[in-house]
């Protein structure tokens, strides 16, 4: 055969393992991948443009459309950023703070469960998919109980939470904390020592710590390579500095280590939730900060001034101080941040959203060459991408 003949193959945008609409242009030498070029943008909705044309309140429901596998984390990431921007961080009631931490960690477990189920399912272990979605359902019921929504929750508010916990919620959440570690044992029994699972994940998609820096990787992807990059510890926010948890780290930086890291993270999240539940004291869940937080509903029904105040806040929004700020939180997939610029008005001049999957996905360019075509499914799965997150 004269010359080298590579075959170009389009994977996606509708491939079932791409979890959304991702297209990867593969150059193949037989079964071997020579190069992989991801093509993104099929889900671009212009969230940053929309945000520039909305008041700070109205932006909240846009954020849970970013990473829809962990909406609560996205909402909280935005609210934490906004509160720091407004300088009202330390006026949040302790009850609301503790509930938020519990919600963020429940959301992390929910996000990791979707990753585990679909990743294992892609590789062929469909049982794990069914198991993972069983427990995820319990988490979504907990979310539904507090705000009526399973996915697009929009539960937190500037200054606290939209509503208090319903009766019996803490007990139900405790029940989850009690039984969930046993379920993680179940997943591990199916996968951790499974020879097929190990053969499909060990040594696949190796990223060194240098690669992590080179590609701007964050979250469990970075920690799987042994880089201790967890914003809850590096730049603590929202009270995480008072919680006791360890950051699981991998050593080989391959798909198997990233699997172990995420499994351990779910166990650590349970520890954090248990501590948070202990700290849910009696008290209000919404701060009294009149220029940004509307008055309580009961007061609005009684006093015309309160009603007018509410009307003004909803219709006109509140003016944010002039300035700029970047704030990042640790979402299930990595560094999730907001870079906001305000010109002093009720709408941001610019709101750049730093999404974790965007940088993480780029590393597939590094991981794919030399692997088999069948490993592409593993590589996409191990990044734990969410295309709505990438395309904004």
């Amino acid at each position: 055969m004269a010359g080298t003949h590579y075959m170009t193959l389009n994977m996606g945008p509708q491939h079932p393992s791409t979890h959304g609409v991702l297209r990867i242009i593969l150059e193949l030498d037989g079964e071997r991948v020579v190069s992989a070029k991801p093509v993104v943008g099929y889900l671009h909705r212009g969230i940053e443009k929309l945000a520039e044309n909305m008041t700070y309140w109205q932006i909240l429901p846009l954020t849970d459309r970013l990473d829809y596998t962990s909406c609560m984390s996205c909402n909280l990431g935005y609210i934490w950023a906004l509160e720091r921007f407004l300088g009202i961080e330390d006026r949040i009631p302790p009850r609301a703070k503790a509930i938020r931490i519990a919600m963020a960690e429940l959301s992390r477990i929910g996000g990791h469960l979707i990753w585990l189920g679909s990743h294992a399912g892609d590789i062929g272990a469909v049982t794990v998919f069914i198991y993972a979605f069983r427990e995820r359902e319990f988490i979504y019921e907990l979310f539904e109980a507090v705000c009526g929504q399973r996915m697009t929750v929009s539960y937190p508010r500037v200054g606290g939470l939209s509503q208090d916990l319903p009766r019996g919620w803490i007990e139900k959440c405790r029940e989850f904390c009690n039984f969930f570690p046993k379920k993680v044992d179940e997943y591990e029994r199916l996968l951790t020592n499974n020879r097929v699972w190990q053969a499909r994940t060990k040594g696949i998609g190796v990223l060194t710590p240098e690669d992590v820096f080179e590609w701007g990787i964050s979250g469990p992807m970075a920690r799987g390579s042994g880089v201790e990059y967890d914003l809850r510890r590096v730049l603590p926010y929202a009270g995480y500095e008072d919680y006791d948890f360890i950051i699981p780290l991998g050593s080989h930086g391959d798909t198997y280590d990233r699997y172990l890291v995420r499994i351990q993270e779910m166990r650590q999240s349970i520890r954090i939730i248990e501590q948070a539940l202990e700290r849910i004291t009696d008290g209000p869940v919404l701060a009294e900060i009149p220029h940004v937080v509307p008055p309580p509903k009961a007061e609005m029904n009684q006093r015309i001034e309160a009603l007018i105040h509410h009307f003004h806040l909803v219709v006109e929004g509140f003016d944010a101080p002039k300035g700029e700020m970047y704030f990042a939180s640790e979402a299930p997939k990595g560094e999730f941040g907001f870079y906001m610029i305000s010109d002093g008005g009720p709408k941001p001049h610019r709101m750049y959203i730093r999404v974790p999957s965007f940088s993480n996905l780029q590393s597939v360019v590094k991981m794919a060459p030399g692997r088999f075509l069948a490993d592409m499914v593993t590589l996409i799965g191990t990044i734990d991408i969410c295309l709505a997150d990438i395309d904004k």
Binding site: V40, G41, H44, G46, E48, K49, L50, E52, N53, R84, F85, G87, V212, F213, E214, W215, G216, S218, V227, E228, Y229, R233, V234, L235, P321, G323, E324, M325, Y326, F327, A328, E335, G337, Y339, I341, H349, R350, Y352, R354, F358, S359, Q362, V365, K366, D391, K392
Partner: protein, 158 residues
């Protein structure tokens, strides 16, 4: 985290000593902001990354900003993270000319590749030296830059 937690003020002092001719502001959360000229841009970034006392080794993001009405309306904002210092820093540079141009960082971090493509796609900022400057979210033949302020929210076509 093993490294010491630097309060932003300590870091600002350190950066002022290192870059004597730059004024270092802070954002509302305390992150230092370095406003640099296009000529200094690459060397400042290089120092931030390679200086052993700083080691801002992660490029967390790079984005564009539009300030219509100003002499050089397009700005590029780079955010770097140092795990050793447990700190972040913002570097800002204005793009010049038509099309607005700044040097590319793609040779320093592979991560910059997509971020610069995004800024190009959304604002039309050209990154000099970028190996593959194409649109990333929008279709190749789009003739507009949606995050420019003059572009209407509803779009220009139906």
């Amino acid at each position: 985290m093993t490294g010491p937690v630097h309060t932003p003020n300590v870091l600002v002092q350190k950066l002022s000593d290192l870059f004597e001719d730059l004024t270092i502001a802070q954002d509302r959360g305390g992150i230092p902001i370095l406003v640099v000229s296009r000529e200094r841009y690459v060397s400042v970034i290089k120092t931030l990354r390679d200086d052993p006392s700083l080691e801002f080794s992660i490029l967390s993001f790079l984005c564009g900003v539009h300030y219509p009405g100003e002499a050089e309306p397009f700005e590029v904002v780079v955010q770097l993270t140092s795990l050793n210092l447990a700190a972040k820093v913002l570097v800002k540079v204005r793009a010049a000319g038509e099309p607005p141009t700044v040097p590319s960082l793609a040779a320093f971090w592979r991560a910059a590749n997509w971020h610069e493509r995004e800024a190009y796609d959304m604002f039309g900022i050209v990154f000099d030296g970028h190996p593959d400057l194409r649109r990333i979210f929008l279709e190749e033949d789009a003739d507009f830059y949606p995050l420019r302020k003059e572009y209407p929210l509803e779009g220009t076509k139906d």
